[in-house]
């Protein structure tokens, strides 16, 4: 009886959590990628990187590896609330999305990159 109750509770919890699974907003990802990522890359020697420059697999690997600047930094650092808070006085997208949870924004960007990848549904540029 006791184990049955535990299993039932587990099932309910799993259902609740699934219902909360985040539905990524590729449009918000698009704005952040272009206004924050690209605007910085353009100002730095790296230059802009079109989403269509890589495949969906490349982008998935990149986001999962969470490495920026050849591993010296983390990608997530540039998506974090801390970073947005730091640049929001000079960056409207960072200001607009200041309160978005880090994971949601990361998922949004990943969705945009997947969609805009070379082999994605709508290969996209930075502009």
């Amino acid at each position: 009886m006791k184990s049955a109750r535990i299993l039932l509770a587990a099932a309910i919890a799993a259902t609740s959590l699934s219902a909360l699974a985040y539905d990524a907003d590729w449009k918000r990802g698009r704005v952040y990628y272009r206004s924050v990522c690209t605007s910085c890359h353009v100002a730095n020697p790296v230059g802009s990187i079109n989403p269509s420059a890589k495949t969906m697999g490349d982008w998935a690997t990149y986001m999962k590896a969470d490495k920026h600047a050849k591993g010296k930094e983390k990608v997530s650092q540039y998506i974090s609330k801390t970073y947005r808070d730091k640049i929001k006085s000079a960056n409207k997208a960072a200001e607009k999305f200041a309160d978005v949870p880090d994971q949601e924004l990361s998922d949004d960007i990943a969705a945009f990159l997947k969609k805009g990848a070379k082999d994605g549904d709508s290969p996209a540029s930075c502009s």
Binding site: I6, L17, L20, A21, Y22, V31, S35, A93, E95
Partner: protein, 536 residues
């Protein structure tokens, strides 16, 4: 460890994702989507494979029972519009232009932008409800596509398009798209309106793909980082009928701000609807600027240039040079230094421009079209396909910015009419296949039900497109001297005295002399008073 904690750990072990339920207070409202009242992923009817667009529509209509009937009443569906002022039968189905010219005989290509499925010829059933395409306006994934050549149908599996080209168009998952429907967006409207005239930014100049996620510099209202207006914010729809018209535009809105609940039947997509008739309250010289608003459309000062988002707009199109072949005897493309096509064997020569200054004219909202069958005369120089009414004196006109598109297009010199060539297609009469104008025009005019003499010549044409998008930040609005100067932007505007432009030398000399004499008089009088006062 209590049951809830064990359950939570078990749930995490089962792979359920991220947010922690334990952090949500028990009295908190349940998590919901806030951008819709219906999560379409939960509808069993949509959890299936769809083999065609109409199959999706049938399911949509089981709940949205009135939607197709509403769509049937709109210009987006009928592509036909009877102008009550001129009694001209207009709409995309009937008018000609100097871009791709006309729709009849090219249906499967042009109707990729119809809000329906299957309009492949003149026999399309406009009463069919299941032929209404809900997804083209309500897709939120950005993945819904209706490639030219499929008569408005989306590809549901990978296919070679055009046939024989070797180019593969990927099939799309209609079920996934149907489960993600939502409100219209700049992306959905833009899928057609950004690409009018056959490509990105080609036709309008103030609408192109850069408006999908624009900066404030490009458009203060649609600024994706700011106000983020969708098209529907201004073009407020009612019963699926979207406000705003190219055929009967509102050139001068005299009624002021439109209050919520107002039952006035008026176009909500004007600047005045929100900003009122005296919009410059906080500006320096606000009174003077508000006086301008009586005669000058807001767009004239606040849209200094068009095509500012990095996408060039076509400014002219010369069909008379089409048909040249490359050294290999095959159709060719010629590109400019920026990689933009400026010659295409199928279409002729183009000119393009970015950051294009508009032209200006008095405009009262009346638009008259040169339609198929109307007589045209090459000796008159230029045939205006749409003539904008307006003058300084009629009390209804404002000075408007326009994109004036110039071209040269085929016409029938014997019948003295414009023609509707069959351009797109894989058949022997299509111009883009056989490069023969006579065959293409004969075929197209047959579908249009219009006579064709068999002779072809080319005639110069013009179309004027009032500009209203790409509103710049107020700091970038035109300065006074842009217009108030010799050879300024309004050099061609007649019927109004424009200081700085219209000075008459003799009048100026007399005026300045009078002012100088007055000043001398004031100083002289003052000096005499001082002199007299000291003597006392």
């Amino acid at each position: 460890m209590g049951y809830p904690i064990i359950a939570l750990l078990a749930a995490l072990a089962l792979g359920a994702s991220v947010p922690a339920v334990s952090q949500v207070p028990s009295e908190a409202p349940k998590p919901v989507k806030l951008n819709t009242t219906a999560d379409h992923t939960k509808f069993k009817e949509l959890q299936r494979v769809f083999a065609s667009g109409p199959e999706v529509t049938k399911v949509c209509l089981t709940c949205h029972t009135e939607a197709a009937g509403q769509i049937h009443r709109t210009k987006h569906w009928k592509w036909e519009f009877l102008n009550p002022g001129s009694n001209q039968k207009l709409g995309k189905k009937n008018v000609l232009n100097n871009f791709c010219i006309s729709i009849p005989s090219n249906y499967p290509f042009c109707t990729s932008c119809h809000v329906g499925y299957g309009w492949k010829d003149a026999n399309f059933d406009f009463s069919s409800e299941e032929s209404v395409d809900c997804l083209v306006c309500h897709d939120t994934t950005g993945n819904y596509k209706k490639p030219p050549g499929l008569a408005g149908n989306p590809p549901v599996k990978d296919m070679e398009l055009p046939p024989g080209s070797g180019k593969i168009v990927k099939g799309i998952d209609l079920s996934r798209i149907a489960q993600k429907v939502g409100k219209t967006s700049r992306d959905t409207c833009g899928a057609c309106h950004f690409f009018g005239g056959g490509g990105d930014g080609v036709k309008h100049g103030d609408m192109d793909s850069s408006l999908a996620a624009p900066t404030k510099e490009l458009d203060v209202h649609m600024d994706a980082e700011g106000l983020d207006f969708t098209c529907g914010t201004c073009h407020k729809a009612s019963s699926h009928d979207v406000a705003g018209s190219r055929y009967t535009p509102t050139a001068k809105d005299t009624k002021g701000a439109h209050l919520r609940g107002s039952t006035e039947n008026r176009n909500p997509a004007t600047c005045v609807n929100c900003h009122g008739k005296a919009p410059h309250e906080k500006a320096k010289q606000s009174e003077r600027l508000n006086l301008h608003a009586n005669k000058v459309a807001c767009q004239t000062c606040h849209i200094p240039e068009i095509a500012r988002g990095g996408v060039a707009t076509k400014t002219s199109w010369d069909w008379s040079t089409a048909g040249k072949k490359g050294p290999d005897g095959k159709p060719m493309l010629v590109k400019d230094a920026k990689g933009r096509v400026i010659y295409d064997s199928k279409k002729g020569d183009f000119t393009l421009g970015e950051n294009v200054k508009p032209e200006y004219a008095w405009f009262n909202g009346e638009v008259t079209y040169t339609l198929l069958g109307d007589k045209v005369d090459k000796s008159e120089g230029v045939t205006r396909i749409n003539k904008l009414g307006g003058s300084a004196e009629d009390g209804k006109s404002m000075i408007w910015p326009l994109k004036v598109f110039r071209g040269s297009q085929p016409y029938d010199p014997d019948n003295k009419t414009l023609v509707t060539p069959h351009t797109a297609g894989n058949d022997d009469t299509a111009y883009w296949k056989n490069f023969g104008w006579e065959k293409a025009i004969e075929s197209g005019m047959k579908v249009s039900g219009a006579p064709f003499s068999g002779k072809v010549d080319f005639i110069k044409t013009e179309m004027s497109w009032p500009i209203t998008h790409m509103v710049a930040p107020k700091e970038k609005a035109l300065g006074c001297t842009e217009c108030h100067s010799k050879d300024g932007r309004l050099a061609g505007i007649s019927g109004v005295y424009l200081p700085g432009r219209d000075g008459i030398p003799l009048m100026d000399t007399l005026g300045w002399s009078a002012a100088l004499l007055t000043l001398l008089g004031v100083f002289g009088h003052g000096a005499l008073r001082i002199f007299v006062a000291r003597r006392k």
